[in-house]
Symmetry: C2
Subunit: 341 residues, 2 copies
């Protein structure tokens, strides 16, 4: 009762033509007279015909679905609103095309590679989004070998046949550092993300560069896995040492928020005793105290751009890279003039 009952054969019989002609008319391809076309369409409409995705899949060898495989520690995944927003953005372009999004959340990299292979050998998706790019990312040659169209979220550090959607984190980090320096900070530390992830190491490199350009000595950096817990640990280490930094630049907002908590817990005032900045401008930032100074990024724009580019790629076999506007610093209360520089 629920499944679509009327097939192309029903339409053909009703219209007194062959299946093939109906198919041509429905996909408006040449070789059908104007009268036949409207008559067939009219009959299909009247009979309530809808295409069978499964039949179409079998004969066209396409699945009309796109894939996203997320290999993140569930803890990190939960505190980071990137993916929900990204997916919402992707959907806005997939839904109108009748495409579905197949999502896999996997625990580790081995499973991740296996998942891509399975998606391909099942013919489950026609293309994938590659996120959380890593150094020398093994997924790029894998997907190339598998012949699966893909777009990368971020610019890979190796040769890649796939279009990429990227946003330069450097200006945001640089702007943050310049702002802190302008407030009088000289001992600025960085709580970096995972060095294995490109956006982790790039933000860190941007931080180092920014300090150098400000004429300051290299600052302290602590590597983390981007998790809230790791952010808290890093903040505690930085703030409990002798002559702690007067400002800490966190590589993402969840860690920065944990940093705020640690500062409070240690009896430090923010921003008087220590300034704190984040990255991403997640919703929480506005409502913690003090509100977090951070760099605004737009994950749902990424999603839209990535979706459009992947469609382009699948349709034309090629698609240009997209550079999204760099994030700008959003100034709130968590960074200020140090009372004891």
């Amino acid at each position: 009762m629920s499944e679509n009952k009327v097939t192309i054969a029903d339409v053909a019989r009703e219209a007194g033509v062959s299946k093939g002609l109906v198919s041509f008319a429905l996909n408006d391809r040449p070789g059908v007279s104007a009268e036949s076309r409207v008559r067939i369409l009219e009959i299909a409409e009247r009979l309530g015909w809808t295409p069978s995705l499964r039949a179409r899949s079998l004969s066209t060898r396409r699945s009309f679905a796109l894939g996203l495989v997320i290999a993140r520690d569930p803890e990190v995944l939960g505190s980071d609103p990137f993916f929900p927003s990204f997916i919402a953005g992707v959907e806005t372009v997939l839904a109108p095309q009748g495409l579905a999004l197949v999502l896999s959340v996997v625990p580790d990299e081995t499973t991740e590679m296996r998942t891509y292979r399975a998606l391909v050998s099942d013919g489950r998706v026609d293309g994938v989004f590659l996120s959380d790019l890593r150094h020398n990312d093994p997924r790029i040659p894998l997907l190339q070998e598998l012949g699966l169209p893909a777009v990368t979220l971020g610019r890979p550090d190796t040769k890649s046949p796939f279009p990429c959607i990227s946003v330069d984190d450097t200006p945001g980090v640089a702007e943050t550092v310049r702002y802190l320096v302008s407030l009088g900070h000289r001992r600025i530390a960085h709580v970096a993300g995972s060095p294995a992830l490109l956006h982790g190491s790039r933000r860190r490199a941007a931080f180092d560069t920014a300090l150098r350009e400000a004429g300051l000595p290299a600052g302290q950096s602590i590597e983390t896995d981007f998790s809230v817990a790791a952010g808290a640990d890093a903040a505690r280490r930085l703030l409990t040492q002798d002559s702690p930094p007067t400002a800490i630049v966190f590589a993402n907002d969840p860690m920065a928020i944990a940093g705020l908590g640690v500062a409070h817990e240690l009896g430090l005032r923010v921003p008087d005793d220590v300034s704190i900045t984040g990255f991403d401008d997640i919703d929480f930032t506005r409502y913690v105290y003090p509100a977090l100074t951070t760099v605004r990024t737009a994950p749902s724009d990424w999603g839209r751009a990535a979706g459009r580019t992947l469609l382009d790629l699948m349709e034309h076999g090629t698609a240009p890279d997209v550079d999204l506007p760099a994030g700008r610093l959003v100034i709130r209360g968590s960074a200020g003039t140090p009372v004891r520089p």
Copy 2:
């Protein structure tokens, strides 16, 4: 090159038997001699045969995929780690079965209903998870009409043909209120979630009941949409009135964290001037200051249970409801003895 080239016909030819027999052997069904079976399996193995999902889909009228449609304001979605964890839990049971998860994030309820219809008429999924249950939820009759198997996340307030996976929020809320009362609180307010959502209104009802059972007069309640922003607004309204509450029970953690921020901003000490509790025990709770006293829930357990139940339902046509253990109060620093009761 990527697509699976070897078909069941190749195996049949190589084995010198018919397609049908190969199919029987591969699905180990009766009617195949032991020798033939091992020979066919051996040959399929040697040839590297893998089933074509698409062909199987067409002939069995199944899609080997399950659906999840999320209709939430992106803002609320982003700050709430429920779905990432839930999905991770679901995956642990789907992946071993070779099932995929099709995810839709839609902006509103109208689109949501349309999405379900599309999923069914495309035959895109074999079953769905129904989350964020609403009062008199229109999706239940819709799915019933569409004949799509489903499990509900939470117990519906109307007659439902579907198994449900539920957890009783009442004990957690009750425990929270009793704890606050035991600390000496008498003016306890509630920042409720959306009254349209069952878990929103149930937590609120549990709150009212708990106060009554403690012999206290009805407390103040403010309805919200579960968003961080709404939580902050509610907290501000509660705390800036004459004789504000000494404790606020928030219906979820993101709002509670926003509440902490508002309290700080108003110059109130937590928990001395106002105690704050949350619900869900998201990762942030441990790392804000003071750490949030909240009720622990386990979204990935929900995911696992929901996945198993949906598989059961699809296989046997029926599946029992599952009651997950109620969340327990996790005591941290954000609630304490009121200094001015």
